[in-house]
């Protein structure tokens, strides 16, 4: 069960408040993205948004006739940092709501808050907290990303539960809402964490320089794992020819 709030589940004032918070948060994230990526400010987030949307279509059977898929906000934070992740999730939520009919149109703001802003900030906080451990041994990066993604998914569920408790029907007590959504998200968090850790491990083996996790340094980027030749665009505008999210750009400070 994902945390997409449909139309009509939450009352109009709560949905409107969610839209205001989402608009503010995405505007800030957008400004930071533009400052960091310059002329890649559209292309990289657009491709990462498409990646997240497609990633949700790859479904894994978990038994009992149910299947799991990635939500991906925690993964996106580990891959491209929190600002770009928020911008990407906002794009994904808008496309899902208006083109795929997945998630409410009046609840777009709430869904951006639940799936984007809240989990991205939580994931980034966790990644920053464990950065010293990752810096010490880069092989711990997948586990760190997994923990961050799991806690992000839990936070997403709790955010949705809070909105439901505030703006949903009051026939059930807030405690029941938290128990139901929190409980189901413990399972979601476990799957999300395992998938994220495994995916980060794969990328760490292929192109570690494409990761933007706090604690991963340039030395990892040049580790023996990069036997794949670096595709340096000839006559590219940027002289270094490197990826927008190499640790060199992200490590210096907050992205």
């Amino acid at each position: 069960m994902t945390v997409h709030i449909p139309d009509g589940l939450v009352d109009v004032p709560t949905a409107a408040a969610g839209a205001v918070v989402a608009a503010g948060g995405v505007a800030i994230a957008g400004r930071r993205t533009a400052a960091r990526l310059k002329d890649r400010a559209t292309t990289l987030p657009a491709v990462v948004s498409a990646y997240l949307l497609i990633g949700q279509l790859l479904v894994i059977p978990v038994g009992f006739g149910t299947s799991a898929h990635l939500i991906g906000t925690g993964l996106a934070v580990a891959l491209v940092g929190p600002s770009i992740a928020i911008v990407c999730v906002a794009t994904v939520v808008v496309l899902q709501a208006l083109v795929l009919a997945d998630g409410g149109v009046t609840a777009i703001g709430l869904n951006i808050v639940n799936d984007g802003i809240v989990p991205a900030l939580v994931a980034y906080g966790v990644l920053c907290a464990v950065a010293p451990v990752v810096r010490h041994d880069h092989r711990r990066a997948p586990a760190a990303a997994g923990i961050a993604a799991a806690l992000a998914a839990l936070a997403a569920g709790l955010a949705a539960a809070t909105e439901l408790a505030v703006g949903g029907s009051d026939v059930v007590s807030p405690a029941t809402v938290y128990a139901a959504l929190g409980g189901s998200h413990v399972v979601v968090a476990g799957i999300e964490g395992a998938l994220t850790a495994a995916i980060i491990a794969v990328i760490l083996g292929l192109r570690p320089d494409y990761l933007s996790m706090p604690g991963l340094t340039r030395t990892t980027a040049a580790s023996p794992a990069t036997t794949v030749p670096q595709p340096v665009p000839r006559r590219s505008r940027d002289s270094d020819g490197s990826h927008a999210t190499t640790p060199a750009t992200s490590r210096g400070g907050r992205p």
Partner: protein, 266 residues
């Protein structure tokens, strides 16, 4: 960027029908207005949902939405169903016996309302999505004064979804061939490997895209416009005529009449 990506617009591929020629911003506003009225309808007046659902179905029929699409989208209601079950099972107040179960009466009422609203939403969005391409949708958002950078991002992302969808299918096939067996663990490994590989390919694609745009000097110009979206919302398309705006309010008005009637009669 268009020719290279072939059928890049499939996520918003449109069906030509009576609603196709309405301006996209009109359709978006009509959709939001209609769904706000539906959201305002109280759970104690379930009769109104029937009328509102009929309005949504009418719009979907006018839009020629294939029934198969609606059926497939009903999976988005599964989480809502879970929430509805929680409401019915754990709601307070008097209990009623439904078969062998003892359910909360007000909880059941809310459960029906929540399911009805979600269904109406999915049908109504399908009517808009079926008659609007992603490109038109972006133009509509721009005319509704969404920021240029965001519209630009949604437009490029919508195209990239189609490109990556094909790439994902190839990567997934390669990964599952390599993972071999049919056991669940192999399935997991295949998905994880494809997602990892797909991100690397996506990042490379973002670089190629940036280079291609730079080569065609399509970077942000002095006008402040985006890669594919112009800065001036009025330049994007001719303004929607007033008649279209009136038409756009018809679904919301019908939903509102249903709501008022249900409240007054009920």
């Amino acid at each position: 960027m268009s020719s290279a990506h072939g059928a890049a617009e499939r996520p918003g591929d449109r069906i030509d029908g009576p609603l196709t020629d309405l301006a996209p911003e009109v359709k978006v506003i009509a959709l939001v207005a209609f769904l706000v009225v539906v959201a305002l309808t109280p759970a104690s007046r379930p009769g109104a949902y029937v009328v509102q659902l009929l309005v949504a179905i009418g719009a979907a029929l006018l839009a020629f939405v294939p029934l198969g699409v609606l059926a497939r989208r009903s999976v988005f209601e599964l989480p809502v169903l879970a929430i509805a079950v929680v409401y019915a099972a754990f709601g307070h107040g008097p209990r009623v016996a439904v078969g062998p179960l003892s359910l909360s009466e007000p909880g059941l009422e809310v459960a029906v309302a929540v399911l009805a609203k979600a269904t109406i939403g999915i049908v109504a969005v399908s009517a808009v999505a079926a008659t609007t391409t992603a490109t038109e949708l972006v133009r509509g958002l721009r005319r509704l004064r969404f920021p240029v950078w965001f519209c630009d991002l949604v437009a490029v992302a919508a195209r990239q979804v189609e490109v990556l969808r094909e790439e994902a299918a190839r990567v997934r096939l390669a990964a599952s061939v390599r993972a071999g067996g049919r056991r669940r663990r192999d399935e997991w490994r295949a998905v994880v490997r494809s997602l990892g590989g797909l991100f690397v390919r996506s990042s490379e694609r973002a670089e190629r895209l940036t280079t291609a745009i730079a080569l065609r000097s399509g970077s942000r110009g002095s006008s402040g416009g985006g890669l594919v979206v112009t800065a001036d919302p009025r330049a994007a398309a001719a303004a929607a005529p007033g008649g279209e705006w009136l038409l756009a309010l018809v679904p919301a008005a019908l939903a509102g009449v249903a709501l008022l009637t249900a409240v007054l009669v009920g």
